[in-house]
């Protein structure tokens, strides 16, 4: 997993609330067998509309998504996070995220930042008025800054440490490989095995 310290990029203002994971990545994309290549499925239904914000030429290359409240509700599919990352987003800002989506995103290195709705409104107004405006998400200082906007955000210490170090769950567990080996050594012999010994 890539480490996240601080990121600066242009933003996409997404003025919609209750964006569920089926809208982020429709179910028929779930049949893919890799972790990448989901970028074309991101917000697929909405992107059929040429005026949809993601389709606007001035939004190309943007890396910060500023979304409405209750982002990521619905099915627990992790593909929603991959789709956002494959598309190029590094951080998503919203006043409220669905729990499972937030858990999935932090695990995968996509920083979800919770800011009060007035701050989200300010970011929407700013980036709508000036699409070139850059937003900085600083995980070290736990701060979001943009021209005329400055806001602190919270993130639990454990999640923050993992993002800063770029540690995924597996690498963290493998730090305790000795504990695993010790447990394995004392498992009873009657436990079944799937392969011939």
């Amino acid at each position: 997993m890539e480490a996240f310290t601080t990121h600066t990029g242009r933003a996409v203002p997404l003025r919609r609330s209750n964006v569920d994971t089926d809208q982020i990545i429709p179910a028929h994309w779930l049949k893919k067998v890799t972790r990448d290549g989901f970028e074309d499925g991101l917000f697929e239904a909405w992107r059929k509309d040429g005026e949809f914000v993601l389709n606007r030429p001035e939004r190309q290359g943007a890396t910060v998504l500023v979304a409405g409240p209750d982002f990521g509700t619905g099915s627990s599919r992790e593909h929603a996070v991959w789709a956002l990352q494959n598309y190029g987003f590094k951080a998503v800002i919203s006043s409220r995220f669905a729990d499972i989506f937030r858990g999935n995103s932090l695990k995968n290195g996509l920083l979800t930042v919770v800011l009060p709705q007035p701050t989200v409104d300010a970011l929407w107004e700013l980036t709508e008025a000036d699409p070139t405006a850059e937003v900085t998400v600083d995980l070290v200082a736990r701060k979001v800054t943009a021209p005329g906007v400055e806001a602190d955000f919270e993130l639990d210490e454990n999640a923050r440490w993992r993002l800063l170090e770029g540690l995924d769950d597996i690498s963290i567990t493998l730090r305790h490989e000795e504990d695993i080996a010790a447990y394995e050594a004392k498992r009873p012999s009657f436990k079944p095995q799937t392969l011939p010994a």
Partner: protein, 474 residues
């Protein structure tokens, strides 16, 4: 203070416990199938990791497999890719696989128990929510997501958040004609689809103890539909008898040691559950769903409820939406609902006892005109057993279709689907909108109700069949 069954199994699997962190648990058995594993293997590959314990891992193909013409190439390219990817991954990482055409192939939750791989006191995981099925053996069995699948492949462990415990005690005896499926549907209707959230449910009481292993699997299978993390039943003589002699069951001295340990896996006298629910078995009757979630069910003798009768505004809205989607009107007797499709199968009710129960009612009778009945064994082994007992003949003679093993019409991921507006009586576990095909309408039922419904063409219980015989009067 005593411990519950779930707590005992949990404690026996703690690899590492640290303040402020979730416990790291060892996983005894990891089941894989084609839908939720590809990205996990992809992740291993990207990070140069291997499967830590191939000897505790097993894969089969089920969700995408067709149930007809299985010797022909799979028509849907996406399904084909998922299956081919699983085969490639298993070969590359050294994982045992039972592919389509293999004698041990089948729905993953039917295959594990039948091989004797699911045993009491184990931790079992699979990238599938109905992993709760394995709790029937007194195992702690969880459905997990794809990144957790990768985690288990790489480390054979999983960090797990603590759970709460719930006891569902079923007193007394189930009345004649009332099955495990009716019981679990009634339980879900009682506690709600969110009622089990955060809990591991232990089913106990006289009615549960009397159930066969297959019926216990039906109960635990649907724990997830009550929102529970898992469901469990304490192992007993029924469990041991089911396991003894199975391919992967312990043998000789190991068997004795295992049984000795398994006998300790009971909730201690004085252990306290965080929540308790008590059900009187004698009050139960055949139960069916009328709505679009498994909690929207009622006794077959009842009528479609009036949404206005729900006091909770969100339940009321859900009922309104459900009736609209299901094309039903309030007050309509459930027995008068006509179906065009009947599905017997899935990891809930696709085992041999389920097929026997359905066949017993179909013997000498005919599936009603205009009704399509699919019988899909949960695994190839189940199919072979059914053939040996002549059940396949009973089904085909009654006019039902006898298919190859797989998930089939439990979900619309393979060719067996409902068309928009079609209505099924289904022994599966989910009646969500579109679950069995876009626009399809699902009523969840027991195998017995499914068979009676197939004969009469409308939702019906076995008792309704008493005077329906083939003209010849067999």
């Amino acid at each position: 203070m005593g411990r519950t069954l779930a707590e005992k199994v949990w404690d026996d699997h703690v690899v590492r416990r640290a303040e402020g962190e979730p416990d790291l648990l060892f996983i005894d058995l990891h089941l894989l199938h084609e839908v939720t594993s590809p990205q996990a293997f992809d992740g291993l590959r990207k990070n140069g990791r291997r499967v830590r314990r191939t000897d505790l891992t097993i894969a089969t193909e089920d969700h995408n497999t067709p149930t007809l013409d299985i010797d022909k190439p799979i028509a849907d390219p996406v399904s084909r890719t998922q299956l081919e990817t699983l085969r490639k991954n298993c070969a590359e990482f050294g994982v045992r696989l039972h592919p389509l055409g293999d004698v041990e192939q089948g729905v993953v939750h039917v295959v594990g128990p039948q091989l004797g791989l699911t045993q009491p006191g184990m931790t079992v995981v699979c990238g599938d929510s109905h992993t709760s099925t394995h709790g029937a053996f007194g195992a702690l069995a969880f459905g997990i997501g794809t990144s957790q699948v990768e985690h288990v492949l790489a480390t054979q462990t999983l960090p797990m958040a603590p759970f709460k415990t719930m006891a569902v005690t079923v007193n007394g005896e189930l009345p004649e004609g009332v099955t495990a499926k009716d019981l679990i549907l009634a339980i879900i209707a009682r506690i709600g689809t969110g009622g089990g959230q955060g809990y591991v449910i232990e089913y106990r009481g006289e009615a549960i103890e009397k159930l066969s292993m297959e019926a216990r699997m039906t109960i635990c299978n649907m724990s997830i539909e009550a929102g529970a993390r898992a469901g469990m039943i304490a192992p007993d003589e029924t469990t041991f008898a089911y396991l003894e002699g199975r391919e992967h069951a312990p043998k000789g001295a190991d068997w004795d040691a295992a049984v000795k340990y398994w006998r300790t896996l009971r909730t201690d006298e004085g252990a306290v559950f965080d929540h308790e629910v008590v059900i009187e078995a004698s009050e139960l009757a055949p139960f069916v769903t009328w709505g679009t979630n498994p909690g929207q069910g009622a006794p077959l003798s009842a009528s479609v409820p009036d949404p206005a009768s729900f006091t909770d505004p969100s339940e009321k809205l859900a009922a309104e939406n459900a009736l609209k989607y299901m094309g039903l009107t309030a007050g309509q007797p459930l027995r008068e609902i006509a179906v065009d499709t009947v599905f017997v199968g899935s990891c809930t009710n696709g085992r041999i006892e389920d097929l026997r129960a359905a066949a017993a009612l179909l013997r000498g009778r005919k599936v009603a005109d205009g009704v399509r009945m699919l019988v899909v064994p949960g695994s190839v082994r189940v199919a072979l057993q059914a053939v040996e007992e002549g059940l396949d003949k009973v089904f085909t003679e009654a006019g039902a279709e006898w298919r190859h093993a797989g998930c089939s019409m439990c979900l619309g991921m393979n060719p067996d689907q409902l068309k928009p507006g079609e209505r099924s009586a289904s022994t599966s576990n989910r009646n969500f909108e579109g679950r069995q095909g876009k626009g399809g309408r699902t009523h969840l039922v027991s195998p017995q109700v499914a068979a009676a419904t197939a004969v009469l063409g409308h939702l019906a219980s076995p008792a309704d069949l008493s005077d329906v015989r083939e003209p010849a009067g067999v």
